[in-house]
Amino acid sequence: MGDLLARYDILGAFLMTIKISLAAGLLALVLGTLLAVFRLSPVPVLRAFGSTYVNLVRNTPLTLLVTFAQFGLLSLLNWHLANQSSPTSVADDNFRWGVLALGGYTAAFVCEALRSGVNTIPVGQAEAARSIGLTFTQTLREVVLPQAFRASIAPLGSTFIAMIKNSTVLSVIGVAEIAFLQSRIIDENADQLYTIMAIVALGFVILTLPLGMGATALSKRLAVKR
């Protein structure tokens, strides 16, 4: 095992997984919130746009989105996201398109997580807010969203855990994260199959377990008492 750690940059691969997760997570949070606002808004076109996006993206395999981004948008259309003259432009392009695909995919789930948070609020809360004369924006800002956010913590946590695990899908377009390295190590040293599996499994437990426990603890502490 020490041998493997010395010969391969396993920590670096996990670092790449973390990097993908942070970048895609941020993108998903921003885009997902925007989509959730769209789906709650008074404008019918925005609602239709939000629900179309969510339904299309949520029902497409992530592997398909990621390969489409690389083969279709990057290779075929030559839409580069990285500086072409830099020595790492190929890896950067794959990484950025991968992050875009993963973030765009996760955004649909973030949107649904936020909406499910809104769904737990009793209608009386909004009715009360409206009846004391608050406007739409005020109702959302002062009454609905603070409660919705608290109720969304648990599903958001699950969404981000799923996203960290989904970051392995980027290995199919050659991003050097942990599943990619796992494949390579197995190819080169078949006898280390079980060792590398144990290392990768342990790594993901370490990455996801605290996040899950933190989300559960936080959502319990912030739960709105009714």
Binding site: V45, N55, F68, T168, V169, V172, L193
Partner: protein
């Protein structure tokens, strides 16, 4: 779910309606422009010529590529779901067991398989089968099914547990008080009700399985995505091939999600169970179909 729109804002008057249609119009235009730009770019690369699409009208492509790919995807999904249901039932009951070591062991197994990404397990089992010579020439299929079964089985196990936990306490107390043992109460009183309440969640887990079967692409399993790739290199029409299989995936999953929602509404109306649909625990949230599980009058 209530139409939140009804409470959050007033019914728009003429002025607000005008603003809304302007905003809507601009957004529609922007989206249409973006879509047109992408299509135009692909068209410039010749991906939208009739010749790139006409293969999909020939029997050859369907007979040797799309249908075998679809069968591969469905075969992996159906076998995995069946095995995952068994796995989930066994370990879900294990987590509810009165015997502490059984409970702990099931807990560790379920949590472990839920934490490890499906792709990592697929690569692992695929290579295990390759090296050990189990499942000769079926290694990819076996790898896909094993990984999907372990992951989704663990999710189902959690669903079983939360389904039983969501039942009113009186159900178990009543069972015990008429002299059933703990195991008998679980099997003959609580599980049947929990399973009914879980049905929509399990159905939507099928969507996750269908989507995840596309991960088989990475270990050369002959499913839809792999076949699309082959069509692409055979006919030089990668984009049309991708679009066709994306439509197939979306149609299948959308139908499943809708069916799951129907069943859920029906269950709620008929009320054959004392339990609520289980709350999304981990990644089953991916499906969204049970996001609206809370009954009652909410936003």
């Amino acid at each position: 779910m209530m139409r939140s729109a009804d409470v959050l804002f007033d019914i728009p008057g003429p002025k607000a309606r005008r603003t809304q249609s302007i905003v809507g119009g601009i957004l529609t235009l922007a989206a249409a422009a973006l879509g047109a730009f992408v299509i135009w770019q692909f068209a410039k690369k010749g991906q939208f010529e009739g010749a790139k699409w006409s293969p999909f009208l020939t029997g050859e492509i369907w007979q040797y590529y799309i249908l075998p790919g679809l069968i591969g995807t469905l075969k992996a999904a159906v076998v995995s779901v069946a095995l995952a249901a068994v796995f989930g039932l066994v370990f879900g009951m294990g987590r509810l067991s009165d015997i502490a070591p059984v409970r702990w062991a099931s807990g560790v197994i379920v949590e472990l398989f839920r934490a490890v990404p499906v792709l990592v397990m697929m690569i692992f089992f695929f290579n295990v089968y390759l090296l050990s010579g189990m499942f000769p020439s079926q290694e990819a299929f076996a790898g896909v099914v094993t990984a999907l079964t372990l992951y989704n089985g663990s999710v189902v196990a959690e669903l079983v547990r939360s389904g039983v936990d969501n039942l009113p306490r009186g159900q178990r107390e009543a069972g015990l008080s008429i002299g059933l043992t703990g195991g008998q109460t679980l099997r003959s009183i609580m599980l049947p009700q929990a399973l009914t309440a879980m049905l929509p969640a399990i159905m939507s887990q099928l969507v996750v399985v269908l989507k995840d079967s596309a991960l088989g692409y990475a270990i050369t399993y002959e499913e839809l995505l792999n076949k699309a790739n082959q069509i692409g290199s055979y006919k030089g029409n990668l984009i049309p091939a991708f679009i066709v299989i994306a439509v197939i995936f979306i149609a299948m999953n959308f139908a499943l999600t809708t069916l799951a929602q129907r069943i859920e509404q029906r269950l709620r109306r008929r009320g054959h169970t004392a339990g609520l649909a289980p709350q999304p625990t981990a990644d089953e949230f991916e499906t969204g179909a049970i996001a609206d599980a809370e009954s009652g009058r909410t936003l």
